[in-house]
Symmetry: C2
Subunit: 526 residues, 2 copies
């Protein structure tokens, strides 16, 4: 999931009292329009009263006992998933993982469980008809990010139980993002069925294998089952929502994303068109690498932090009244220093802290370079003038900034700055998504969180992205990322999910995570 | 050799009559000093009269016959060398190739033939004491550039004879740069010794295995034999000097080079210090990739072609009277369009042609990006904010621009533009080299060229680099890149050397190349 470490982001949520200082550090090098980022402010200094939501009162002791009795087998189910690589970007293990998911759903008792062909990796559709009135859609992703195995303390697909400060953790690519919590959720379903004979709600599974690619074909899966999905009452995304201190962050919105590959190649403008040439020709031959660098550089202020694309900030929706209330309510969980230490970052942009940084994180669009490459990148010396240079660039899009509009604006910027030869390939694009805290299903889920954790905060949004707009905007459903538990390291080496907390660590282990999922399902059924 | 395709560069040599138009297209984005490149002009419109040099008159028929009789074995000697990989940047086959060269010299009758340890790859020293008054130093390099085998029409270390427009060619990494002409030269030595029993001059071999790395330790080899090398009369570099049309280009100078790796990493200035983080944090975290891009961008004008480093152009020596005469003499061999087609380039910088382009090529320093890399560069989408970004950057240095001064100026530029966190690692650095046409050894070599080719041009300099300053500046010797024959594709896929010219192709084949080397040796002995 793109919302890696999102549980940590809540610690930025800030008081509305202080307005952000305007950013005056940036100035244009090629373009001339005003390069300042907009300043976003909250509409109120009042906080949302989460006290109006009571803790979920029910107890499903027989099912909890079943979970405790079967926890070793449940852990092995997580390990089985994690030992099956499923790297969507490299098409490694995708078919096997799709079938593993489909087969598991069939074995659980789903009457329908089938692969869904798309123009990319297949999806998985499954339906459990419990004969109930209410229907939950569960969004799953079975793919993971690529790995650099040499950076891992334990091999990324060994799924070893490893000792950690917090207790015993599963270390594997996908441990927390997203196989671990997803398989824990299925363990919960299995436990309910084992004890009660059925589920308290009908369950639709709409899974994809391309989330880490930006969900380029998820719409095809939704299209295929659109009429049936429309009949559901809510969408749920199994997710490790706890922090190491036990506090919970519930997320009601995500940014959208535009992910492109930009390339400069020699051509009529100059530069070698077909292949690298000897570097000494630079004296008379233009360089596609310099060209890409200049084109990229024209997109941002000298510090790389303000987007100079004309109109890029225009449509962004500032904090609403509900969002402002929620941000204020989450303030006590904010801790800049803790997050900076976790990320290995000495300072936020412009040295901002507290409220300023929190609002920047949630409301600013980004222009980030995920990768750049050209020419010789090996050891030592090779003297060439490369004929092509490329960069992967992503932009996180708050509500109000449509991905296709964003792309058109970037294209226009390049064209009007003389970079019309720079190609842009769109690799992923979808808009932001937002769910209101006032929906009954969100309030029911919050009740379960309150049963298990003392500190529960609700964030209107995180800085990451997920294709939740398929549920909120296309299907009109509330989307709830639900789940106890802690994990970290998504998209990075040494990804983990906490399985057995150490003494005094106030975080749910695997058994408690599964018990909470049982409660979520019953709470949402009511 | 860094002087890949240098034989083609002479076609740029230009009339001195028209002064270069000043470049008015560049302007600064970060720094504010004048960004215009200097305009260099020739001192005269007269041309050097090569007619004062007569063709070498002697004929060594018995040796020529020996070459013809043994040409199959001679070709196999080239193939043997070319089938031994010796990629200095990757330390592939280096030891084996050094020993192959050493052993061949021993077998030829060199009384001394030994490996020379350095702090890098070993050199090879050999001495053939012919009991003569005159002594030639022969500079050899036994290393080659890296390869991307999938780009090759024939495997790069198969050394197959391949049909080509010009005739039968040897295709291999190192075919023309530099193993092909070097082994042909040794075939010539072998033939002289076989027929005459000895050589007409004493021969010192001072070979290195790190030329493609920028000769970082060649000075150690020269140091070790400095006093003996000082006693030599001239230095010779075996080299394929012909063009496909049969014309010859003799090169009397090379640019120097500074080759560095520049890196931006997160730290106290901002950005993640230890590892990549999730890309969504870009909203509050600085990016080392953007930082490298901005630092690089500050070094050049918006078109990437004028160096904005303060004082970079200050010390460059403009064309001397001798150089001006030579440039004027070479004009008839200049052909912009032919070279552009060969390189796959539509236009030279600023659309320059003719005289302007020729003088730019020989007298401008460059700032070229050989490679750049950061973050995710694989297939598809990975959303990260990388913690480090690097670029390989080289600068070609005309006489008057010292590599250490150039490096200091770049460092000062970055520091004074706020980029003191950008690290610069020096990978290679040596100054330019120049030999005068008025030395008797150069005139003797030119006489041999005149015997074999109707069109002989002399270039004062090429745009490429070679560590010839070791001979010209440290040892006070004229350095002569001598040799008939044609090759192309150095530092690129499908490198070739012409072995058997097709009908009507006026270029020397292997046998004639070797015969000419015989003549060079005798001519230089006189």
């Amino acid at each position: 999931m793109h919302v890696n470490k999102l549980l940590l982001i809540l610690i930025f949520l800030s008081l509305p009292l202080a307005a952000c200082a305007p950013d005056t550090s940036s100035h244009s090098d090629v373009v001339t329009q005003a390069p300042e980022r907009p300043v976003f402010e909250l509409t109120t200094d009042e906080a949302y009263d989460l006290g109006t939501i009571g803790a979920y009162p029910d107890d499903h002791a027989e099912i909890y006992d079943y979970i405790d009795a079967n926890i070793d087998a449940h852990l092995r189910a997580l390990q089985r998933w994690l030992r099956q690589p499923s790297i969507s970007a490299q098409n490694v293990g995708i078919e096997q993982m799709a079938e593993m998911l489909r087969g598991d759903l069939e074995n659980l008792g789903f009457q329908e469980a089938k692969l869904v062909p798309t123009d990319g990796h297949p999806g998985v559709w499954a339906y459990y008809d419990a004969g109930n009135e209410k229907t939950l859609v569960v969004y799953l992703m079975y793919d993971v990010q690529p790995v650099d195995p040499e950076d891992w303390q334990s091999p990324p697909f060994a799924a070893n139980l490893v000792d950690h400060d917090l207790g015993k953790v599963l270390m594997a690519r996908g441990a927390t993002n997203q196989k671990g919590p997803q398989r824990a959720f299925l363990n919960a379903l299995e436990s309910i069925i084992a004890v009660d004979g059925s589920l308290p709600v009908n369950v639709m599974i709409a899974a994809e294998g391309e989330e880490e690619l930006g969900s380029p074909h998820y719409h095809q899966i939704v299209d295929r089952y659109f009429d049936r999905l429309k009949t559901a009452d809510a969408a749920l995304f199994p997710f490790n929502s706890q922090r190491p201190d036990g506090n919970i962050s519930v997320i009601l919105g995500v940014k959208g994303i535009l992910y492109v590959e930009m390339t400069a190649t020699g051509g009529s403008w100059g530069g070698p068109a077909d292949a690298e040439i000897h570097g000494s020709y630079k004296a008379i031959v233009d360089s596609p690498v310099w060209r890409l660098i200049k084109a990229l550089s024209s997109l941002t202020s000298p510090d790389g932090n303000t987007i100079l694309v004309s109109g890029y900030y225009d449509g962004i929706v500032p904090p609403t009244a509900e969002e402002s209330l929620l941000i204020n309510a989450a303030i006590e969980q904010r801790d800049d220093v803790q997050l900076q230490e976790l990320l290995g970052v000495s300072r936020w942009i412009d040295g901002k802290t507290g409220n300023d940084a929190a609002i920047e994180l949630l409301y600013q669009p980004t222009l980030n370079i995920d990768g750049i490459w050209s020419g010789y990148t090996g050891e030592g010396v090779k003297t060439i003038l490369p004929h092509t240079a490329s960069a992967k660039v992503d932009s996180r899009l708050p509500p109000g900034l449509d991905p296709d509009e964003a792309l058109a604006k970037i294209r226009h910027h390049l064209d009007s700055n003389g970079f019309d030869d720079i190609s842009i390939e769109k690799l992923s694009a979808y808009p932001a998504s937002q769910t209101s805290i006032e929906t009954p299903e969100v309030r029911a889920a919050l009740g379960v969180f309150k049963k298990y954790a003392s500190g529960v905060a609700v964030q209107p949004r995180i800085a990451g992205s997920a294709p939740f707009y398929q549920f909120t905007d296309r299907l009109g459903l509330p989307l709830i990322p639900a789940g106890m538990g802690f994990g970290t390291g998504a998209h990075a080496p040494n990804e983990i999910m906490l399985i057995e907390p150490g003494d005094g660590v106030p975080v749910a282990g695997l058994a408690e995570i599964e018990k909470a999922y049982v409660d979520f399902i019953y709470a949402l059924a009511d």
